[in-house]
Symmetry: C2
Subunit: 328 residues, 2 copies
């Protein structure tokens, strides 16, 4: 008996889920659903089918959990509440401001259908959120810090690519080492945006483009770059391909706090991720929570959940006895 997985959308996340399912022996990929022509899509898993999103209902009883791999801006707000009518679902919705609305929509549809929908799964939101929650529950009197990077920001890379004269670009977000050290040392510093992160841009120019003007446009771009110390490197297309084609990311969640009758004792909790591929790691988290969705549904539960609502043991393929004997 394996957990039958469906994937909706076959971009970086969809391909990552496919790899992650292969690593999990209690799971099996049944189908990849696409909005493109299914015949045009080649997947790697031998016995899985590629089907049109339009035919998804036909798989209602063949799939235990559907993992949605679309974007948070327009795909998931529509797709997850619809899909959860047919399947237990997991998505990586990451627009923080719209979480309450998305939660309510998925919850209503999931309860009516008797399915489980787990939203906002990944590393931030996701594992970073879990670390913030645990650390806040333990160190009641404390201060939270999140540093991202060194890693590629897709949004910032896209923003550079929209500048006239730019052929291609990659942007790295980097924590400022001195700020990180101060936080780690329990100094509880107050840090401005500029003091926490720097931005590194690797830019390929169109022929004849004005490098000085492009650099100026990047560094002064409101919201994206104007509040940061930004460094721009102009490189060749070959160099971008050779050295900057990966999608690494990661970061740090740190909480420092005080305990004791007079709050005289200091503690620092730190969680760090170093990821060679942001989407591949995200999808490993999605797949672990897909297992949880499966188990919760088997118990007869329904409705929307986040990572906060799932007991950790549900993520594991091992029994309670095994976990207590080997990981406790």
């Amino acid at each position: 008996m394996t957990i039958k997985i469906g994937i909706m959308g076959y971009g970086n996340l969809g391909r990552g889920v496919e790899c992650a399912v292969k690593q999990n022996k209690d799971m099996e990929l049944v189908a990849v659903f696409t909005r493109r022509d299914p015949a045009s899509l080649k997947i790697q898993t031998p016995n899985a089918v590629v089907a049109s999103v339009a035919d998804m209902a036909a798989y209602k009883d063949k799939i235990d959990v559907l993992i949605l791999c679309g974007g948070s801006a327009t795909d998931l707000p529509e797709q997850t509440p619809e899909a959860v009518k047919l399947f237990n679902c997991v998505d990586s919705f990451d627009t923080h401001a719209r979480v309450p609305e998305h939660f309510a929509n998925v919850d209503a549809a999931a309860k009516e259908a008797g399915h489980v929908g787990i939203i906002s799964v990944g590393w931030d939101p996701g594992m970073f959120s879990l670390q913030r929650l645990y650390a806040n529950a333990i160190l009641v009197n404390g201060k939270d810090y999140t540093f991202w990077g060194r890693g590629v920001s897709q949004g910032h890379s896209d923003a550079i690519r929209r500048i006239k004269g730019v052929k291609d670009a990659k942007q790295y977000t980097c924590p400022v080492p001195a700020a990180l050290e101060a936080v780690r040392a329990g100094e509880n510093p107050d840090l401005t945006t500029r003091q926490k992160h720097t931005r590194e841009c690797y830019v390929v120019l169109e022929e004849g483009a004005d490098a000085a003007r492009v650099e100026q446009e990047i560094k002064t771009m409101p919201n994206y770059f104007d509040e940061y110390d930004t460094t721009v490197y102009f490189i060749s297309e070959e160099e971008l391909l050779a050295n900057h084609s990966g999608i690494p990311h990661g970061g740090f969640v740190i909480r420092s706090g005080n305990t004791g009758w007079n709050e005289e004792t200091k503690h620092v909790i730190e969680y760090r991720l170093q990821l060679e591929s942001n989407p591949e790691f995200t999808t490993c988290v999605l797949v672990a929570f897909a297992r949880a969705a499966y188990k919760l549904a088997k118990e007869g539960q329904s409705g929307c959940r986040t990572v906060f609502d799932i007991a950790p043991a549900y993520l594991s393929a091992e029994s309670g006895e095994y976990l207590r004997a080997h990981l406790l």
Copy 2:
């Protein structure tokens, strides 16, 4: 409506729970139970009572959760299964080999009484266990490392104190920096006991004791020191008091693993604790899980649980809406 807490045992852990309860506005310390003469015990909380363990049953309806602060060797195996007949309970049982037996005993008693008992709560077992579980569920193909320290090992300090000629001693367990860096770099090294940790001993001799003999006895002590590189410092009683009276601890849980269709992509997950006081941090974890025990019991659940079985939101005093809005 506050959560009414009882403490059993008023050593380092008991005093730590008292401080932690003070920091949590939704909690109230009702009573400290002791095996000593209650009149001999002075606690810090103005309106809490000190009572004899023999009178515990009289508090059955006045306490929501009892936090057991005894030792794992002889206290908790007896006390938790007994106490859970009267109260929801949380303990910090840390004898790994005896967890299955303790779990079964607490589970049977808790189910019969309709109470919740959460065992093995703290940081290891506890928060470190949680990190191992999450990291294993996410990175299926990987390797686990746990480093402890720099911190005081009570067991090793006691072992030194039992040597003839030793008046007092403190032992620090220290991770080996090179090993830690290799693990962090994702090199997946195979490490021997000696390669992972060193041991530092600060020893006060009795007058006239033979330092060379004591040092030799320490360094060759089976199980405790013989497999480690150990350094022994002989210091005065004044220096031990001035510089080594704290109980700091901490450590690292790291899992590195690979993803991708051919497992070609590397990731490293790291969790680090830096604790100025081992018992004060442990008790903050105990108190957060006491809140979980209270909520689970309110839902009508009963039986034994570990940290693996508790959804993280149960640890927090905040609502699901608040958590999704602020920590997700």
